[in-house]
């Protein structure tokens, strides 16, 4: 009992001839479904290329904060496979993910320092399976960005009070932040890791999402900002 490839068996073992035109349509249907999936992904990518609103987690002009040891942004987007191992490994749950509004950035990890800063435990680098986050051994090696102080908002600088919260929060205080008169912070970008603990603990809450000290990175939202 032999069957050629074009025959399909019924459970009783009897063959049923499948017509070649039907086979053609079935193949086309499968290809169409497949094309639909890929078109959806490519479409969301192209939509962002041509216009699209940056999500709040991209932090506007301040730039995206990636976890410690992240590769350059283009390499990072290419090699990150959007698993969740870095966030599972994170000691303080500071790693968040971009949602579906972020197109090709969806599922990539980011840190939103105003909600929770990174404590530089460096577990995420150990956890990353693709080397997108390079494992680091020293806190000093981390360079996620640099903290920048807004002189008009900082209470220690503008003369409305004496604070020092950023200095206290900084894991590398005395190296990355030193204090001047009335605890006025002074940032040393060579040592600043961009962990964002200063931003998290800054007492200034003038407007929603605005602190006197903020982490600035070079990884700004790579796509067009607004729909025209």
């Amino acid at each position: 009992m032999t069957h050629d490839v074009k025959q399909t068996l019924k459970p009783n073992g009897l063959g049923r001839k499948t017509h070649s035109r039907r086979r053609f349509f079935r193949k086309s249907a499968g290809t169409a479904v497949m094309g639909g999936f890929l078109a959806a992904v490519a479409g969301s990518y192209m939509r962002l290329r041509t216009g699209g609103v940056a999500p709040a987690k991209a932090r506007g002009p301040l730039g995206i904060v990636r976890p410690p040891g992240a590769l350059a942004e283009n390499d990072f987007l290419a090699s990150c496979i959007r698993c969740t191992r870095c966030a599972d490994a994170c000691e303080v749950n500071c790693i968040d993910f971009f949602g579906s509004e972020a197109g090709p950035l969806q599922g990539t990890p980011c840190i939103v320092p105003i909600e929770r800063g990174c404590t530089l435990c460096l577990k995420c680098g150990e956890a990353c399976p693709t080397g997108s986050l390079v494992p680091l051994s020293k806190k000093e090696d981390v360079d996620m960005g640099d903290a920048v102080v807004d002189d008009r908002l900082c209470v220690s600088i503008n003369g409305t009070g004496v604070c020092g919260a950023c200095y206290t929060a900084c894991p590398l205080s005395e190296k990355a932040i030193t204090q001047g008169i009335r605890n006025a912070p002074e940032i040393h970008p060579d040592f600043c890791t961009g962990c964002g603990l200063c931003e998290e603990f800054c007492i200034v809450d003038e407007r929603e999402g605005l602190r006197a000290i903020q982490v600035v990175t070079k990884r700004t939202w790579p796509y067009k900002k607004e729909v025209a």
Binding site: R26, R82, R85, N93, G99, T130
Partner: protein
């Protein structure tokens, strides 16, 4: 023989269920480690006592305390050994897309292939995490699909549910598609990943979706619990879950095991990697009585009776359990060259 093989199916179900449990537990372990590292665990356990989040944390806690070295004696009472438990928690991360289980890092070859295609380079860490999956696949074939994949498990249960529909005389369709689709999708996806420099299939590959969605689900519930809103909540899920729901509905009504048979790019890659597997389902022709029971049950829609278990076969062994004549089994060779079954002595029944 048949009894023994039946045990294999029981073992397979047990492994599949264990994977689902591990998948749900890993994000909880992560949050557990957060509270433990912040020395807030005991406070949290008391505060959330009797709620979903509190009970799962307590369950994870008792599990880790039961491990060797998980507890120590301090001033006459038994307490949790915080450092040791924290060390244990670090061995569990991720989901079926890329998982660290008990310290062993494993990544789906599809994820690795996409990462390599998009980045045009490979990292040592990635090669290390490929060791276990690739060795297992080269030796055993597409076993990830039949033993580990949580979506494969879900779709197997969906297939069982089609029987209910048939019982209700709703007659689900079984439209056949081309098996080549999944290999095409794999190729096109990898080319797209290389062209756009972004992993593309990671967004449509169900185990990857499940990895992220389960993480978001559990983390979302714990985030809300920290704000005082305890209990179940699934509002953090994205459109990607709808894709899986769509697949389930499609398989239920239109095409049996559609995704795994025709579309899944990950299954395609596992199949290609396991093309030369030494351990495969084989047919002993001298024992086969051509009853075709195996053809009806094969989840991948292959024909074990004709010994056509090529790269699509996921070695689940369902055909082996279905065989009454002991003609199918796992073997080291693909085809046993023997004389066909001797039908002499059996009563010939001529069809009318």
């Amino acid at each position: 023989m048949a009894r023994e093989i039946h045990k294999l199916q029981v073992a397979r179900r047990a492994v599949q269920m264990a994977v689902v449990v591990v998948l749900l537990a890993i994000p909880v372990v992560s949050r557990y480690a957060n509270y433990l590292a912040a020395r807030e665990l005991d406070k949290t356990l008391v505060k959330w006592d009797g709620t979903l989040q509190g009970e799962t944390l307590a369950l994870i806690d008792s599990g880790f305390r039961a491990l060797p070295g998980g507890e120590k004696e301090r001033v006459g009472e038994i307490v949790r050994d915080r450092e040791q438990v924290l060390t244990y928690t670090q061995g569990f991360r991720g989901g079926p897309w890329s998982m660290e289980f008990a310290g062993v890092s494993m990544t789906d070859p599809l994820g690795a292939a996409e990462s390599v295609a998009a980045r045009k380079g490979i990292d040592k860490v990635l090669m290390i995490s490929l060791i276990v999956p690739i060795i297992a696949t080269v030796l055993l074939g597409r076993v990830f699909c039949s033993w580990i994949c949580p979506v494969g498990f879900l779709l197997e249960l969906t297939e069982k549910f089609r029987r209910v529909l048939r019982f209700l005389e709703l007659r689900p369709h079984n439209v056949l598609f081309s098996r080549a689709t999944k290999y095409t999708l794999l190729g096109v996806g990898l080319v797209m990943a290389a062209w756009l420099s972004v992993p593309v299939l990671a967004y449509i590959y169900p185990p990857a979706i499940v990895s992220r969605e389960v993480h978001d689900l559990v983390f979302g519930m714990f985030d809300r619990a920290e704000e005082g809103r305890l209990g179940f909540w699934a509002g953090g899920l994205t459109w990607m879950s709808l894709l899986i729901v769509g697949i389930i509905v499609f398989e239920l009504l239109i095409s049996r095991r559609w995704w795994c048979r025709y579309i899944c790019p990950g299954g395609a890659l596992y199949g290609l990697l396991g093309a030369l597997r030494p351990v495969r389902v084989k047919l002993r022709e001298s024992k086969c009585t051509r009853c075709a029971d195996c053809v009806a049950v094969c989840p991948v829609g292959l024909n074990p009776m004709e010994n056509r278990m090529g790269i699509d076969c996921d070695s689940c062994g369902v055909c082996i359990s279905s065989c009454h004549d002991d003609a199918l089994g796992y073997g080291a060779t693909r085809y046993v060259k023997e004389a066909p079954h001797d039908f002499s002595g059996t009563e010939a029944v001529s069809p009318k």
